[in-house]
Amino acid sequence: MDQTVPAPSLSHQHVTFPDGLRLDCGFHLAPVDVAYRTYGTLSPARDNAILVCHALTGDQYVADPHPLTGKPGWWSRMVGPGLPIDTDRFFVICINVLGGCMGTTGPRSLRRGEDGRQEPWGTEFPAITIRDMVRAQKLLIDHMGISRLLAVVGGSMGGMQVLEWAATYPDHVFAAMPIATSPFHSAQNIAFNEVSRQAIFADPQWHGGRYWECNEIPARGLAVARMMAHITYLSEAALTRKFGRRVRHEPGRGGVPGSLFGEMFEVESYLRHQGSSFVRRFDANSYLTITRAMDYFDLGAEHDGDMSHPFAGTRTRFCIISFSSDWLFPTSQARLLARALNRVAANVSFVEIDSDKGHDAFLLDEPDFDRTIRGFLAGTAEHAGIA
């Protein structure tokens, strides 16, 4: 499934499930490939597994170098020997989400067309939900013979998956850590996603989603989508601290002094870099599919309008973490989740980490955050009797 033009050919560790799975939209998707990475050693009792769920543009390379960019894994500061999610102690699994573009079945995967030829799904890929992503992950967890995950941990869209895991498979999740997330995708966040999608649609190289036929990618549209989204991951304080109003003079670019774009603010340069490096590793149709899955996420709507319903009688231990400057998934939404869990007397820890780094804080150096994760997992292991 990695032969798609023009994406680089890569093979990812994966398991193929020939029977696939039935999606929330009613479509039966088969076969389904589930690509993943693991770290550490599964105990003989298979009781030390922690599933880390990645965010919108993340992937399964949580703690080893990314095969396309060569950069360290997206949470390599958190997952590893001796780190808060300690691979000396725990068996850590990270799975590329359904609809993704790093080996799990998604819009770039090939299917047999009506004429019998293989072609990518593209925008014909069925609409998926966060719960569908979790169902696909469950296939792999069952395949590994793990009957109960010690913990499911994830930030942002990863946190939505954590909540779906706890709601859909309560007996298989001993502890859940939803981080910088919300029990539903807000109107504001849907609005941002829509701007991202419109940027992709507006790129002439998108070709109605069949860009592979022209051997092109909608790089400009996808880059603009990423630039806009990236602003929402930061905060005014973080942008000011990092860039302020500093200007970068680039000789030979923009030319004449005094011309409209003769000089570039550093923040502009940074965003352009974010945009251009993103398009080298991410598929535009995957971006569309996954942002839509996030938009559909509403834990309450899935359960008669009350987000506490799916957690009635739950024995899962929850640790909700938010960040004070996160305006994309603000603490107020995390508190709604905490209160929904209170309504069913669930075991909930709820911490707001003081940070000025915005939504991205969960990926960055925040000592209190590290301590919270480490301590909660240690307590979890103790309660699970695997200390």
Binding site: N342, R343, V348, E352, G379
Partner: protein, 204 residues
């Protein structure tokens, strides 16, 4: 753990569900989990303490007595504990009602405003009393609802709560000897500690 926390722990049966409202550094939670096998959880208003507690593996959520108890279902806990905080909440009567709605028992401790030293200071100086227990000036104090032991007993009677156990405690948390006479306790006790239940809850 403070001495009065030991007295509180002594009121709690092993293996029960406990909510500690204002759990601070989590010392009582840790004790109840480790030594009594309780399912003990905390609510704490100070985020630093919350982070510290969770980092010690204790289940604590950020919140406060006035705003967060209302979200729990009836009888979710066997004991709801409120230590040295009743006098500082916005609506003490409502907080007590919530505690005895979500818990079968409430354990409440508070500083006694009826202590003789406070009475003497008021009488002789005519100014708001200041002692080691009541140590902040009137304009800075978080203690907006001070009460005496007798006041508290009257409230319990009005609200239909049964006092299952009470004791006077001195500032260090040591149990004071005024266990026979509530009037003497109200005069000489620096802190008070009560174990309450609703009238309709069987004694356990």
């Amino acid at each position: 753990m403070r001495l009065d926390q030991r007295l509180i722990a002594g009121m709690i049966r092993p293996g029960t569900r406990v909510l500690d409202v204002g759990s601070g550094d989590g010392a009582l939670l840790d004790h109840l989990f480790r030594n009594s096998g309780c399912d003990a959880r905390g609510i704490e208003i100070d985020m630093k303490e919350v982070t510290r507690s969770v980092a010690h593996g204790l289940p604590v959520m950020h919140g406060d007595a006035d705003h967060d108890l209302a979200h729990y279902p009836d009888n979710a806990f066997d004991y709801v504990v409120l230590q040295r905080t009743l006098q500082a909440v916005e609506r003490p009567r409502e907080v007590l009602r919530q505690m005895l709605r979500i818990g079968r028992h409430a354990i409440v401790s508070f500083p006694n405003f009826g202590h003789w030293r406070l009475r003497v200071q008021m009488l002789t100086r005519g100014r708001m009393p200041m002692t080691s227990v009541w140590s902040t000036p009137w304009y800075d104090t978080p203690n907006i609802h001070p009460c005496t032991i007798l006041d508290f007993l009257t409230l319990c009677e009005d609200e239909g709560y049964v006092v299952q156990q009470w004791m006077a405690v001195d500032e260090d948390g040591e149990r004071a000897p005024w266990r026979r006479s509530i009037r003497l306790a109200n005069l000489f006790g620096e802190q008070a500690l009560f174990l309450l239940r609703r009238k309709d809850t069987p004694r356990t």
